[in-house]
Amino acid sequence: MLKFIVKRILISIPIFLCITFAVFVLSNLAPGSPADVIAQAGNLTEEAYRQLEISLGLDKPIYVRYAIWLGDLLKGYFGNSTTLYAPVSYLIQKRIGPSLLLTGTSIVLATLLAIPLGVIAACKPYSAWDNASSVVSFLGVSLPSFFLCLVGIYVFSVKLAILPASGMHNPGDESLGDLLRHLLLPSLIVCVLNMGSIVKQTRGAVLEVLGEDYIKTARSKGLKEKVVIIKHALRNALIPIVTTIGMLVPMLVGGAVVTEQCFGWPGMGSLMINAISTRDYNTIMGCTVVISVSVLVVNLLLDILYTYLDPRIKKG
């Protein structure tokens, strides 16, 4: 097992370098630089503008800049945001908590709702439950997030006035209850948007498993149907389901961008968007590092989890 983990970590390194280099190049290719953003607001002479470019390191060729950035990263230094003038690590640290809270709650909710729905749909194909699950999957996958957000805000905050429309707390209110009230609508929306794929995957996987011989054996043993479905069928269907849930992880860390914007939720997603539109390369790269590392780590954890889920997969 240890060898397996070490090998995976070693493979992750070139992947990480590729991702970060690609993002670095792409963000630099976008027209406009952080110097331009700063120059927008003030009256900089040509000389001052040039000086600014030098101080931001923009006069060097792109691969040199990448190397410098990478060198800093290895020392643990993420650089400073050129828009917010705070250390990038500080910014990320402040924003990652809310993001994890929002998307973590959504994923947990989505899993708790989607798996039972998918299982029931698989056990009663073509019934009302199955149709309901298809509708949910379809809507979740097709509805644009901003649409759901705006509808949600309109219905619950404006018309019914039972849930807040933005922010994480009411000012001065540090209670858990208030936080949950603010969390409810955005996390439900993100949950619904992502439920669709989990329901579909669960239904498909469980349906397939139900056709296997060992299910027949289980039934012929006289086991209760519930045990057959959950202990024998669901357990075998877990691998594709877990994979689907695992693919939601980049969202977990990167933040559900549109939802965060609509609800004024101070998470990583809105940090990234702001950084991109203000060409804040350091913040963009910092967020990229955090997201890609977490994706790589989660993939590794998933692979380890698979070996426990399916004993046929060799460990190592």
Binding site: S33, A41, G42, N43, T45, A48, L52, Y85, C262, S277
Partner: protein
Amino acid sequence: MKKLLSMMLILAMTVGLLSACGNSNQSTTAATTTANSTTQSGGNETQPAATEPHGTMVYALTNSWGSLNPYHIVNYTGTNVHDKLWETLYSIDEEGNLVNRSCESYEVQEDGKVYIIHLRKDVKWHDGEPVTAADWEFAARLLADPAVTGMAGKTYPANLSGVDASGNIVETEPFGLVATDDYTLKFTLDNPLNYNLFMLNYSRFYHPLPKHLLDGKMTGANFVENEFWLNPVGCGPFKFVSTTPGEEVVFVANENFYYHVQIKNLIIRKVAAASLASSIISGDIDCTTAVDLNDLEELRAASGVTVRKANQTEYVYCHINNALCSKEVRQAINLAIDKQQIINTVLNGEGVPAETPINPASPLCGVDCTSTRDVAKAKELLAAAGWDSNTVITMATPSDFREDIALIMQQNLAEVGVQLKLVSCDQTAMQAGLKDGTYQMGMQTWGMHYQNPTYFQICQTPGSSINLSFIDYDDYANYCHQIDAAQDSTELYNLVQEYIKYMLEDMGHIGIAHRNSYAAWSANVINGPTASSHDLSWEWTVKD
């Protein structure tokens, strides 16, 4: 299956219960504050009159403000945050008048070359230390340190003596901002300037910094990225509590401020433009000055919400590459655009057509600036200028209302034989593209005060980084310098008329409209902000 369902039910019930708890908390605080306000207005109280600041206001901005460093100007939204925490000599009210802040009185000497500012003696830092003139000089010298680069606010003090065009100290001249005693500041300028205009244009770029905390610790080298800005000690009407950079700043009232601050907690928050209206209606946000014109109807219809038209308009205009489009061509394009139609359809009628940056309703505008669309004349001008109708002008449009205006412009210009190609991009890409010539036209807004005719000059001065029309002659700059220097109000007025006439003739930029601006307040607000960058925050008050 049943187990999962019951778990979900329990979860739902718990959330419901907790939200009920949250609700009841809110109602009790509401009850106590209404009790307070009734005693205040009632007059027959056993308690002392409530001079205590009370309540919480959540103030929404649609743009980010960068950091809490007051010289860190990312866009003009920053002033809305900085003037709460830091001191300035003046604030500017909605009408464009100077409102005294730290400046108690002044004298103009040497025909406008020297200003003697007498500072208020009762201004204190939030840690209790008094603010003196030395703090002002300290800050100005720090900013002018050549080691400070990359700050947009750096170049504005360039018109002081002892400071060069890049905003750096020049050792051979006396420094232009000096503390002559504890509460007197002496401004020495390179050239005489009109005091009122100087303060309208530049007072927000001068602040004191706590010398007793920063001397020796903050230098030019670590000025920009200093951890002091993450936990600043200011001297303005509100004290810093906490911040999530780029998202939110939490302030609490400075009860020792020389004006009486009436709000206890002020939270400034960045909110996406799309959710602004609904947040005001639901009460999550208390006020904003960035109301989208399309939300006006809905806000007006909502109960308890106040919608207030500001005494200030925004100048919507187009940069146009002067090298590609000669004066005649620019005039023709200006004549071809149906500005009234644009105002009616895109701006919901909220505004007047603009020919120059100066609003015709301004008291300083005595020239007839009526806009008339004249397609025939436009065609004439284009023919006389030898305009090749195969030339394509590429215009960059960020995707907001500017895109809608651009579409109408495209149709208008097609009628006179000018091809306009529209490209969608974001703000930064537009400016970068205008700069390197990829785009020849782009649309922008600019807040112009009625009383400040030369505010637009940085866009018209050769060598400026925002001169995106590539005006390469000095006429605009000369007019503005003369206006800025005029010490006599009649002379000022006449010079402004010359300036306006020149702009009508030269058309360095194409004006589209002077757009109305609105503020919206939730039911919780009794008095709030009216126009961006014109906050007199000590006058604001809320119910709770």
